[in-house]
Symmetry: C2
Subunit: 232 residues, 2 copies
């Protein structure tokens, strides 16, 4: 059983080679296989993936869309560099957008969907208790929860922005800064409170709780980062 979470489960399967290359490069960047800040040469990557430059350029365009590479005309593309300010900026937006998503989800989710999400949480909790501290699983669980809430908002722009554009960056920060979970049990409690608010159709509360949840996550990361700074 593969525990690696597919971040694009809401999208269609990759059909074109540009799609395949995109997925591969996305993973390579998120996992750090292509180091942050490194230069990307089209010819190089094209050879590496056994495709022509045409589909690779298509993939690059989409990578730029999800903020994983930065391109300058006639000069090429670089993998983004992770910065403290960038992380803050990212989480600021997440707070607003996921708060909104949560409010909309509370208004629009079908009862069965809520039930299913609640079940999923129980499931994660059980698995987490079994594998105490196994963090990647936790991350997948967290991502999964957020994904479901976002999809439940049924706002297409919101879904695109969060799932297609921002979430790769979120995962990249998590992976490369080693955000393996201490915050596990608290995160689960917060998820639980959020799903309760949604079940009560209390959009306002769900919004507030989601913002707090993300804010807490941000503060947690900030704390880890400053600790890391002291060392280095």
């Amino acid at each position: 059983m593969n525990l690696v979470y597919d971040p694009q489960h809401h999208l269609n399967q990759p059909v074109t080679s540009a799609d395949r290359v995109l997925l591969a490069v996305q993973q390579a960047i998120v996992e750090g296989e292509l180091p942050a800040g490194s230069k990307i040469t089209e010819t190089g990557l094209a050879k590496q993936f056994n495709v022509s430059r045409a589909p690779l350029r298509e993939a690059l365009a989409r990578l730029e869309r999800c903020h994983l590479v930065e391109r300058t005309p006639n000069a090429g593309a670089r993998v983004v560099t992770l910065t403290y300010d960038g992380l803050i900026a990212l989480y600021q937006i997440r707070e607003e957008l996921e708060g909104l998503a949560c409010r909309l989800a509370a208004e629009r989710m079908a009862d069965e969907e809520i039930e299913a999400l609640s079940k999923l949480l129980e499931q994660h909790l059980a698995s987490q208790r079994v594998r105490e501290g196994e963090s990647y699983y936790q991350e997948a669980g967290d991502v999964d929860f957020h994904y479901r809430v976002i999809l439940a908002s049924k706002n297409q722009y919101l879904i695109n922005m969060l799932c297609d554009e921002l979430y790769f960056l979120v995962r990249m920060y998590r992976v490369q800064l080693g955000m393996n979970g201490p915050r596990v049990s608290r995160a689960f409690d917060e998820h639980k409170a959020i799903i309760n608010a949604i079940a009560n159709r209390d959009g306002e509360l769900a919004d507030l709780l989601m913002r707090r949840h993300i804010s807490a996550s941000r503060k947690n990361i900030e704390q880890k980062l400053s600790a890391h700074k002291e060392v280095s």
Copy 2:
């Protein structure tokens, strides 16, 4: 003097042919020259703009990014169709993101920037009083105000999302639904109140006022739309 507002003043000049084609097609879609819902054939547009398909496909990818066209693999691209739900979804996001932008602007704008924006408002007010009801100018002024606030947030993701992705759609809705301004004087008052809150460094109030401002704009459009429905 050309009153047409350049929506990408914060970006570099177009350097590649893909850039030029992108700008042209963006304008064509926003203005309705390429009708909403119509199919886009790559060969056709390529010939129309005297370029090869390669730069045109690059442009198409970016058009998809700003939600002006929808592509399906192996099937081609269509200009987006404007819907009531889409408009609501768009303004929901604008409320959140521009509210955030406004709060950040209140915290981060330099005194001189605030002064300049205030001056710009006075300028718009004067011009608007001269040409009573000339609406496109008003739109440019409104767009300009929002652009400046967004840029002042200094959050790069926010700037990209709002200025590069969503604002073309906003303009498309405005142009094609004939949102010429009745709401002129009230909009100016609201802008004035917002800049005041920013000048007082009251981020919370600036946030609230911007949300209300956009909410009012949305309700105004909703009203017009329902009136339009009664006719047709």
